[in-house]
C-alpha cells in the first residue's frame, strides 16, 4: 500500500531542554525538517512551563513561516488550580489546534477543532466516536495499542486523521511523584529542575545493570526507542494518515528525512533502520507494542 500520502507529525519535546537549545531545535525543524505538523509546548510537568513562555510565540511563528502546521501541547496531568489557569491561558491566547493530553482539556476546547494526544486512553471505535463528536480532528493513538486495534479504529474513521507513534521513547507512565527528582535526593516541590540535567532521560537499570527505563521528570519512558518501519504500509492500508516522531536528543531533522524517504518509497525499511541506528546510536529499537507483545521487544517484520 502506498505510504506516500502519509503525513509526519513531530511530537512535543518530552524532556526539559535548555530554553535556547529548545528554541534553536525548533528553528532548525522549521527550516529543514520534512514535517507536516509540529506539536510544541510542555506536556509532562507544569513546573517547566515558565521556561518556554517567552519563547513559545517566537517558535510558533517561525514554524508557521516554515510551512508547518503548529499544534499546541496541553498538559498531561492536571491537579492544581495553577495548572488549569496556565492551560486556559494557553488555549485562550492562541488560535492553533490544541492537543489534548488530559480529559479536563476537553471542556476547554469544546466546540473548537482540536487534536487528541497519545496519553489519552482510546482503545476502540466507540471511544473514538465520542472524541470525534466532541470536535477532535486528529487522534494519536496510545503507543501500547496493537496493530489489530489500530486497523479497526482507522478503518472506521476515514475523515479523521489517525496517527501512530513511529519513532521515539515510549511514554509509559506519569505520576504525581517525581522519581527523577527523588533519584537526586529532591522532592517534586523542591526539584531544582534536575530533570534538565538529562536531556534524553535518566536511565534506570535493573540490578544486573540492564538498561530498562528512563526517567523524565514525573514521566517514565521506555529505555528502548519505539521504531515502526516495515509496518507502515499495513498501517497506511488501514487508513492511518500520519506518523508521529517523538524528539530524542539526536538529529531529528535527519530522522524526519529518513521517514519521509521511507514513506516516499525512496528507502527500504531495512535501510531506514540502519540510518536511524546511525542517527540515534546506542539505544536499542523496539516495536513490540504494535505486534501485541512486550513493548520492549523487537520483531523483524521487514
Amino acid at each position: 500500500m502506498n505510504t506516500r500520502a502519509m503525513n509526519i507529525t513531530l511530537g512535543p519535546v518530552p524532556y526539559l531542554w535548555a530554553v535556547d537549545e529548545w528554541r534553536d531545535f525548533y528553528f532548525r525543524i522549521a527550516d529543514e525538517a520534512p514535517a507536516d505538523t509540529v506539536t510544541v509546548g510542555e506536556f509532562v510537568c507544569s513546573k517547566r512551563l515558565h521556561f518556554f513562555d517567552s519563547m513559545l510565540d517566537q517558535v510558533i511563528s517561525r514554524l508557521e513561516r516554515g510551512g508547518k502546521k503548529v499544534h499546541l501541547a496541553g498538559l498531561g496531568l492536571l491537579t492544581l488550580e495553577r495548572e488549569h489557569r496556565a492551560q486556559r491561558r494557553l488555549i485562550g491566547g492562541h488560535d492553533q489546534i490544541v492537543e489534548v493530553s488530559d480529559l479536563s482539556t476537553l471542556m476547554q476546547v469544546k466546540g473548537r477543532p482540536h487534536a487528541i494526544g497519545p496519553l489519552v486512553n482510546i482503545y476502540n471505535v466507540a471511544t473514538t466516536h465520542l472524541f470525534a463528536a466532541n470536535g477532535a480532528i486528529s487522534i494519536c493513538l496510545p503507543p501500547e495499542l496493537p496493530m489489530r486495534s489500530v486497523e479497526i479504529i482507522a478503518a472506521d474513521f476515514p475523515d479523521l486523521t489517525i496517527e501512530v507513534l513511529a519513532f521515539g521513547r515510549t511514554p509509559l507512565a506519569i505520576s504525581a511523584r517525581c522519581a527523577h527528582a527523588r533519584a537526586k535526593g529532591n522532592t517534586k516541590d523542591n526539584c531544582q529542575f534536575v530533570c534538565g540535567e538529562e536531556p534524553d532521560g535518566l536511565v534506570v537499570q535493573t540490578l544486573d545493570r540492564q538498561p530498562f527505563l528512563v526517567l523524565n521528570g514525573v514521566q517514565t519512558m521506555s529505555y528502548t526507542c519505539h521504531v515502526v518501519l516495515a509496518e507502515l504500509p499495513t498501517l497506511a492500508a488501514a487508513g492511518v494518515r500520519s506518523i508521529r516522531l517523538s524528539p530524542q536528543r539526536c538529529d531529528m531533522v535527519a530522522v524526519a528525512r529518513t521517514y519521509r524517504a521511507l514513506l516516499d518509497g525512496a528507502l527500504e525499511a531495512g535501510a531506514a533502520r540502519e540510518e536511524l541506528a546511525t542517527i540515534y546510536p546506542g539505544v536499542p529499537f523496539s516495536n513490540g507494542f504494535i505486534h501485541g507483545i512486550a513493548g520492549a521487544e523487537w520483531v523483524d517484520a521487514a
Binding site: 492536571l78 491537579t79 516541590d189 537499570q205
Partner: protein, 325 residues
C-alpha cells in the same frame, strides 16, 4: 461515609457482608475487570447470587468493568454491563469512555461510577464525565493531596470516593504501560499488572532474585522477606546508586485522616484488595468499620493492628500528603 470493600471471590463477598461493609465491589471472571487474576472473580451465576445475597442484607454491589474495550471485541464489555444491570448491581464502575456512552444509552437508569482507571484527576474532567454520561460518583486517582481531594469534592456535582487502605499505585492509574512494556500484559487492556505468569524467582548465590518478563525487579538477601516483583515497587540502579526508584514496598494507609475526608465531603472510602484473602477482608473491613464509628482521637489505636496486612508491614500516606511527591 460508605465503606466500600473488595471481594475477589464469593466467600470473600460473604465475609465482607458479615464484617458490615456498606457496599462491595467485584468483577466478572474475565478481562473486563482490572483484577483479572487466576482463581479470582465471579462467574455470571456467582455474581447474580452475590448481588442477591447482598441486597437481602442491605449491602450494595458495585460491579467493576474497568478495563478498556479491545477494538473489535466490544461485545464482551457490553455483555458484562448488560448482565450486571440485569442482576441488579447498585452501580457499574467504568473506565472506558466508549463503555460509559454505551451504558448511559442502553441503561439510562443504571448508576454509573467512574473508575479510578478513568484517570479523572480534576474537577473539569469529572464535570465532563458527569455531563456526558450522567456519572453519579467518581473514584479519585491516587495522585491528589487531601486539600486537592477536598477542593474537588466541594466543586463537582457527583459523589467522590477515595482509596484509604491497601495496595498503592505509584503512577496515575489507567495511564501506566510499564507492565505492558515488560510483559505484553497491561492493566488497561488485560486487567493485569506485573502478572504472575511472567514472574520468576531464581537463586543467585546467597540471594534470591525476582524477575518480571525477564527483567530483574529485586534482589533479596537471606534475612529479607522476598517480595512480589510489582514493577514500580522494584529496586533499580540509577547512576551509582541503587534503591526503590519509584516506591518502597509499602501500602496506602490514610485511616488517621478519616475525619478530614469526612469534613471534605467525601462520600465513600474504598479498600483496595480484591486479590487478597478472606482474613484480610474480614479484619480490614471490621477494623475500619470500628474506626468510622470512633472519635477522631481514637482512630490511630483502633487501626494499629492493620499494619500486618500492609505490604512489607510498612505504610504510606501516598499522594494525600504533599511531601510524598
Amino acid at each position: 461515609m460508605e465503606l466500600i470493600c473488595p471481594a475477589g471471590t464469593p466467600s470473600a463477598y460473604r465475609d465482607a457482608v458479615d464484617a458490615c461493609a456498606d457496599a462491595i465491589y467485584c468483577g466478572f471472571r474475565d478481562e473486563t475487570n482490572a483484577r483479572n487474576f487466576p482463581g479470582l472473580n465471579f462467574s455470571r451465576r456467582e455474581m447474580a447470587d452475590a448481588i442477591a445475597y447482598g441486597r437481602h442484607r442491605g449491602v450494595k454491589t458495585l460491579v467493576a468493568i474497568n478495563t478498556f474495550m479491545r477494538a473489535g471485541e466490544e461485545g464482551l464489555w457490553y455483555r458484562a454491563v448488560d448482565d450486571a444491570v440485569e442482576f441488579g448491581a447498585s452501580a457499574v464502575i467504568l473506565a472506558d469512555l466508549g463503555l460509559m456512552a454505551y451504558t448511559a444509552s442502553a441503561h439510562p437508569d443504571q448508576r454509573l461510577h467512574v473508575s479510578v482507571q478513568a484517570a479523572a484527576t480534576n474537577a473539569e474532567a469529572i464535570a465532563f464525565l458527569a455531563a456526558a454520561f450522567g456519572a453519579r460518583r467518581v473514584v479519585l486517582p491516587r495522585v491528589l493531596t487531601l486539600n486537592e481531594v477536598a477542593a474537588i469534592a466541594s466543586t463537582v456535582s457527583c459523589e467522590v470516593e477515595v482509596f484509604v487502605f491497601g495496595g498503592l499505585c505509584v503512577m496515575a492509574e489507567g495511564r501506566c504501560s510499564l507492565s505492558s512494556y515488560a510483559t505484553g500484559q497491561s492493566p488497561n487492556m488485560h486487567g493485569v499488572c506485573s502478572p504472575a505468569s511472567h514472574v520468576r524467582y531464581r537463586e543467585d548465590g546467597t540471594h534470591m532474585v525476582s524477575e518480571l518478563g525477564g527483567y530483574t525487579i529485586n534482589r533479596f538477601s537471606r534475612d529479607e522477606p522476598v517480595g512480589y516483583p510489582t514493577l514500580c515497587k522494584g529496586r533499580f540502579n540509577i547512576g551509582d546508586a541503587n534503591g526503590y526508584a519509584f516506591e518502597d514496598p509499602v501500602s496506602l494507609d490514610i485511616l488517621k485522616e478519616i475525619d478530614v475526608l469526612r469534613k471534605a465531603g467525601v462520600k465513600a472510602l474504598k479498600i483496595e484488595g480484591r486479590q487478597r484473602g478472606r482474613a484480610y477482608v474480614a479484619s480490614v473491613v471490621s477494623t475500619i468499620r470500628k474506626a468510622l464509628a470512633a472519635p477522631p482521637e481514637a482512630v490511630a489505636d483502633v487501626t494499629a493492628g492493620l499494619r500486618e496486612f500492609s505490604e512489607g508491614q510498612k505504610t504510606t500516606s501516598g499522594a494525600y500528603k504533599k511531601r510524598w511527591r
